[in-house]
């Protein structure tokens, strides 16, 4: 679905810091949302923790840079990283071009999937729409 000009695929789980989780069997793929990539501008660099590193829900697992600015990326779920997207080392702007596709960031083996998914939002729910509307307004350029 699309909400306020942002692509928000239905099958994903969304973290309030604009990362998403896509469950694929017993693995989960993370990335940043369409909203986040639009706010970031052209992504120049992505650096994450590496395979075998443990991560915790809502804790930073990497840094994203648009050249002028660097920001932390928060993990939507806890677990162990099994793969990082090496394509982003040469073409980080894949995150802008296809945040839900080729611009995925890491794949993890979750440690507490069922419980932690309950802390995330689904597209189309009132909670999600209220949150994204508030974020959209917050990031608007001041008059």
């Amino acid at each position: 679905m699309k909400f306020l000009d942002y692509e928000c695929p239905d099958e994903l789980y969304y973290h309030k810091e604009h990362s998403y989780a896509r469950v694929e069997g017993d693995m989960v793929v993370f990335g940043i949302t369409d909203f986040a990539q639009k706010q970031a501008g052209t992504v120049k660099r992505i650096v994450t923790l590496e395979a075998d590193d443990e991560i915790e829900q809502s804790k930073p697992y990497g840094t994203l840079s648009s050249g002028k600015w660097t920001g932390k990326m928060q993990s939507p779920l806890g677990g162990v990283i099994v793969e990082t997207n090496t394509v982003l080392e040469e073409t980080p702007k894949k995150v802008n071009e296809a945040p839900y596709g080729e611009g995925w960031i890491v794949k993890i083996k979750p440690s507490n999937l069922e419980a932690e998914l309950k802390n995330l939002m689904r597209a189309g729910t009132p909670e999600f729409e209220q949150w994204l509307t508030a974020e959209h307004n917050k990031y608007k350029k001041p008059a």
């Binding site: 660099r45 050249g67 002028k68 600015w69 660097t70 917050k138 990031y139 350029k141 001041p142």
Partner: protein, 318 residues
């Protein structure tokens, strides 16, 4: 929130300062300068790609890689360094990098104007005077804080900046040097002389107090000093300093928004490209006379390194 009016510090300390305050969550406006010259590389860049370390060593120029954004900068005693560290959860810290830069570069714009320099903010983070850059700015998140690191260029040594950069050819270095002179200005260039630093500090303090409320004058807090020592090993760790940064098949130096010098590799010889206002202004073979390629066809192209590289590669195989 603290106001740190600090005397010039050793080069590495000037950068460790805001990294330490951000990690500790100590809000402050710090104004300082460096005793020794150095170059400082942004997060998305890599020292091995950006900097000629042998040249820097031979010329006593330090090398630092920061955790926040912005490009490579050369810093010496002719600059006043301005570092603003604010907790992200403050109600007066706007969301989004563009809003953050615009709001907190405002007092710096006002400071220039009070000196009689008609500086203006140009998104995302450039401060320009007559189309020339007069401050170098980067920002980012450190710990629970947002950090703005910028400066006032009282004067600028373009030669040492160009010397410190790793350049794939002398033609590239020459174009960078000319580009710096064309795209940068300084307080001295605009006014004919540099005002006293205490006056600049007073103007900046007044401007930031108008925006953030009263600032509390302080010396360097002990815990910040201790944190600077603690993180020194981390920020000078071989792995951090040898990171090559964002991988590119070409070498590029950004002079200001929309202005670049870039050298692209090609089977038939490298090509030097100069970019103005986001478009290719000139393209020439490196190290030789025209070689039959229609490099003029690149002129006017929107600057996108990958597309230009592809276009040059196609010329090479025709």
């Amino acid at each position: 929130m603290l106001f740190l009016d600090l005397p010039p510090m050793h080069w590495d300390e000037t950068q460790l300062l805001y990294h330490a305050m951000g990690r500790l969550g100590i809000e402050a406006l710090a104004l300082t300068g460096t005793i020794e010259p150095y170059v400082c590389v942004g997060f998305s860049q890599g020292v091995p790609v950006e900097i000629d370390r042998d040249w820097c060593r031979a010329n006593d120029i330090g090398v630092f890689r920061r955790e926040i954004g912005g490009g490579t900068v050369f810093i010496d005693r002719d600059q006043l360094l301005i570092q603003l560290v604010l907790r992200r959860d403050r109600p007066d810290v706007p969301a989004g990098q563009a809003n953050f830069f615009q709001r907190f570069l405002g007092p710096l714009v006002e400071c220039y104007r009070a000196l009689g320099i008609d500086a203006g903010f140009h998104p995302v983070n450039d401060l320009l005077v007559g189309g020339r850059k007069i401050s170098g700015t980067g920002g980012g998140e450190i710990g629970d804080c947002n950090v703005l690191a910028t400066n006032i260029l009282l004067d600028f040594d373009s030669g040492r900046m160009a010397g410190a950069l790793r350049c794939p050819s002398e033609q590239f270095r020459k174009a960078v040097l000319e580009g710096i002179r064309e795209n940068l200005t300084t307080v001295r260039r605009e006014l004919g002389s540099a005002p006293p630093v205490p006056k600049l500090k007073r103007l900046l303090r007044e401007g930031y107090e108008a925006l953030l409320g009263p600032l509390e004058p302080s010396g360097l807090p002990y815990q910040v000093e201790a944190e600077m020592e603690r993180i020194r090993a981390e920020l000078f760790h071989r792995r951090w300093m040898s990171d090559t940064g964002a991988r590119k098949k070409w070498r590029e130096v950004k002079l200001r928004e929309g202005s670049y010098v870039a050298q692209f590799p090609s089977e038939r010889g490298d090509v030097l490209v100069e970019v103005r206002d986001g478009k290719v202004a000139s393209a020439a073979p490196v190290g030789g006379p025209p070689d039959g390629r229609d490099l003029g066809a690149l002129k006017g192209m929107e600057y996108d390194g990958e597309q230009i590289l592809n276009r040059i590669s196609r010329m090479a195989t025709c």
